[in-house]
Amino acid sequence: MPQFNINVIIENKPTIRDPEGEVIMRDLMVKNGYTQIKGVRTAKLLKIVVEASSSQEAKQIVSKMCDELRIYNPVVSICSIEETGA
């Protein structure tokens, strides 16, 4: 069976704060001169290799797993799933 590379990105919902991103922007970037930076949001990226019959099925397996195993909390975060090349 073929394998697919699936990326899962977990990030706080847009309306919810992201203190980590704020600190990176303020203390690492703006403070050191990059005043052009107007926003930073952090996220968690999981690179998953899945065995499945199709890319569609691979994404479904990952999506179901993330929901079932509570890989993210739907109340706080959004979870996007996409296939990548290699």
């Binding site: 706080n12 919902k13 309306t15 919810i16 704060r17 992201d18 203190p19 600190v23 303020r26 203390d27 509570r70 909390n73 739907p74 109340v75 706080v76």
Partner: protein, 737 residues
């Protein structure tokens, strides 16, 4: 009610009417929203206030009792101890990590805003059954991680706690945190604006849409749709909190900070009206000066947002810059948003236009609701439930009991916490019932929080008094004298007369214990609406009591490791009181029976007796008897010390008919003591002088815990006891053991 609905208000028709009457006009939307937040049960105590008056609040050490951000105790030599208890139940139920973490953040600020530095945290947790529910395991895991991450990041040790699992908490977990702080008496700051012309300064995080309607949300019953209640989710930011803590404490050193108020439930609206109402003044603020995270925020959102890590400072007029410098140094956001006035009103302006001018006293004091109380019909029949048959194999029963999550070792929890940061922790989690901390004047405090939902469900009066007694026993066992208490009362919907009956009985039980033992209440919290709307099920009543003890020295009782050859004594008489016991519920699946009763006169003698035994250095270790009874307490002592015991149950003073009752009864007022060599008889004489039953019941020896009663014998290998007790929780949580 169209407008109320649009604003998502919880106010009743009568409340809106009384507001109209007080204003003499129709309230505008902003006023309705502010009143809604402030008159929520969470902020106003409108149902509980009349009963809470029963609690004694005066005492030798008390400087400040309930009604402020934290209670204050005089610990001598110019130092004060501050203490407060809070919960974050509803936020933790939908976002366990963030909810628990922001709960810790909130209570730390309660301590900081008195002008004191937090020195320790306790957490008291309730979840559904982690043996059967993956949802409860998920909540449990992330709540513990949330508390741990926040406390560890800020550098305040979590020194102890308590946890109970019961199916009624399945959809309503309880997450309570207790915090203690220390400071100089001369640095105390109150949440009051007393001086007209002082500046009101908002420091810390941006005001945003996170945590909108939090306090009305906490006062609404959880429903399926709560999962969608996104805006009530609050994001913890412990590093910001650490900066706020250091900057705030430093700013107090200038002597220009004349009032401090943490912004929690009800946001700016609640904070402003409280400092004005308490100080007998008014406040005026300009909304365009409030730093926002989103520009298009409506005045209502700004006023009631519960964004985390924010505080209000009242700074002496003319000295704003001196204070501002400190906040700039720590990189903490700072904005002068208004000033203290003499008109006793809260005035909110936006770009100069007055949006509302409303009496502070009206905002800060909700009309009291007198609730009806009715004794549940099944209380009598529950109490008279016939006792179950005695199991044939009590060895197996003992092992089963030790494997119940309520009794099993809680190491899995406390090993995730940093309990030593700050280097003040003298007795650490797992070493004794209470945690002991060193104070700057070389005295010690012993702290402990307890709860017992199973007892309180069957008999809220004796259940709640018993919780208090248990917390006291833990504090006494390390040689500290209880000097004050905090209570946290958690119940279902107060408009249900049966729920309110349990609430009122619990308050009476706690108040009677406090009065009899002369231990004043210095603060507390009430959390109602802990029930699941879908199933209509309320949680079992959960009053939690935290007791603070003071001691001059703790050298006498540092270790609870048994020594081979020591004699074991029991203090107190064992009665057949197994209602709500772990043995009945966990082993027999039986909810009912007679709950252990508290005898106030006996308790008075017991406190004095135990303190005398400890201060004379007669006992090598002391352990209170509670959940799981005598057999469980002895098993735990044996396991922790790695050595067995031989106990003669015929020697145990008791009024029981059966062996299982002697072993597992949860009768109050009992301790087991390991006597120092040759001190057995002196302990017995002292106990006799206080009229406390006391007998030598056995000896420390071998690799077995064995109980004998005539020809009956129960003998379990220590190894077996230990595996069961230590591994239950880690295994349930999928960890190695």
């Amino acid at each position: 009610m169209e407008r109320e609905k649009k604003l998502r208000l919880n106010l009743t028709e009568e409340e809106v009417e009384s507001l109209r009457k007080a204003l003499g006009r129709e309230p505008n939307d902003l006023e309705l929203a502010m009143i809604d937040a402030e008159w929520s049960e969470h902020c106003s105590y409108k149902s509980s206030k009349p009963l809470l008056k029963l609690l004694p609040t005066q005492g030798k050490h008390v400087i400040l009792g309930p009604g402020y951000d934290a209670g204050v105790l005089d610990i001598g030599d110019g130092y004060v101890l501050t203490a407060h208890i809070e919960s974050h139940n509803h936020p933790s139920a939908i976002d366990p990590y963030g909810g628990a973490a922001t709960g810790v953040g909130g209570i730390l600020r309660d301590i900081i805003c008195m002008g004191t530095r937090p020195i320790a945290l306790l957490d008291v947790l309730r979840f559904g059954s982690i043996s059967v529910s993956s949802h409860s395991r998920w909540l449990f895991k992330h709540v513990v991680r949330g508390i741990s991450d926040y406390g560890n990041c800020v550098g305040v040790p979590t020194v102890g706690g308590e946890v109970e699992f019961d199916e009624t908490f399945e959809r309503n977990c309880l997450v309570d945190v207790v915090c203690f702080g220390v400071g100089k008496k001369s640095d105390l700051v109150l949440a009051e604006a007393r001086h007209v012309g002082d500046s009101i300064i908002l420091i810390g995080g941006l005001t945003g849409r996170d945590g909108l309607h939090g306090s009305s949300f906490a006062s609404a019953v959880l429903t399926e749709s709560s999962e969608q209640d996104r805006s009530a989710v609050q994001i913890p930011d412990p590093f910001a909190e650490k900066m706020i803590m250091e900057a705030t404490l430093e700013s107090i050193g200038t002597g220009r900070v004349r009032g401090l108020k943490d912004l929690g439930g009800g946001g700016l609206s609640c904070g402003l009206s409280e400092i004005a109402d308490k100080g007998g003044t008014g406040v005026e603020i300009e909304l365009t000066r409030v730093p926002l995270s989103e520009e298009d925020m409506h005045p209502i959102e700004i006023m009631i947002s519960e964004s985390q890590e924010r505080m209000l400072l009242v700074v002496e007029g003319g000295y704003e810059e001196e204070v501002a410098k400190i906040f700039r140094k720590y990189g903490v956001r700072y904005s002068i948003i208004g000033k203290v006035t003499d008109d006793k009103h809260v005035t909110v302006k936006k770009a100069g236009t007055v949006l509302t001018k409303i009496r502070a006293e009206l905002l800060a004091n909700a009309p009291i609701i007198y609730r009806r109380a009715e004794k549940p019909k099944n209380i009598e029949s529950l109490a008279n439930t016939p006792r179950p048959d005695e199991p044939h194999d009590l060895e197996k029963t003992l092992l089963q009991l030790l494997s119940l999550p309520n009794i099993a070792s809680k190491q899995w929890i406390y090993e995730q916490y940093d309990h030593e940061v700050g280097l003040k922790t003298v007795i650490k989690p797992g070493q004794a019932g209470a945690a002991v901390l060193r104070l700057p004047n070389n005295k010690f405090i012993a702290v402990r929080a307890d709860g017992n939902s199973k007892h309180c469900y069957l008999d809220p009066y004796h259940g709640a008094a018993g919780v208090f007694a248990e917390a006291c026993r833990n504090v006494l066992a390390v040689g500290a004298k209880p000097i004050a208490m905090l209570d946290h009362l958690q119940f279902g919907d107060p408009s249900n007369p049966e729920v309110f009956w349990a609430f009122s009985e619990s308050v009476k039980g706690i108040a009677d214990y406090a009065k009899n033992l002369n231990i004043p209440c210095i603060g507390g919290k009430v959390s109602f609406y802990n029930e699941d709307k879908v199933s209509g099920k309320a949680i079992k009543p959960t009053p939690v009591v935290a007791v603070i003890g003071l001691a001059d020295a703790v050298e006498t009782l540092k270790s609870n490791r048994l020594r081979v050859g020591s004699r074991i004594l029991i203090l107190g008489e064992t009665k057949p009181e197994l209602g709500g016991s772990e043995y009945y519920e966990g082993i027999h699946g039986l909810v009912g029976g007679k709950v252990p009763k508290v005898d106030f006169e006996y308790e008075k003698r017991l406190h004095r007796c135990v303190l005398k035994i400890v201060s004379l250095g007669l006992a090598k270790s002391l352990e209170d008897l509670s959940k799981g009874g005598l057999a469980t307490a002895l098993a735990e002592l044996s396991i922790k010390s790695g050595v067995g015991m031989k106990i003669d149950l015929n020697k145990v003073p008791n009024t029981c008919e059966r062996l299982d009752e002697i072993l597992f009864s949860e009768t109050h007022g009992r301790f087991v003591a390991e006597a120092n060599v040759g001190a057995e008889d002196r302990i017995k004489r002292i106990a006799a002088s206080f009229n406390i039953p006391c007998e030598i019941i056995g000896e420390v020896e071998g690799e077995y815990l064995s109980f004998e009663k005539g020809v009956k014998k129960i003998k379990v290998q220590l190894r077996e006891l230990e595996d069961t007790w230590r591994c239950t929780i880690p295994k349930l949580m999928g960890d190695e053991c």
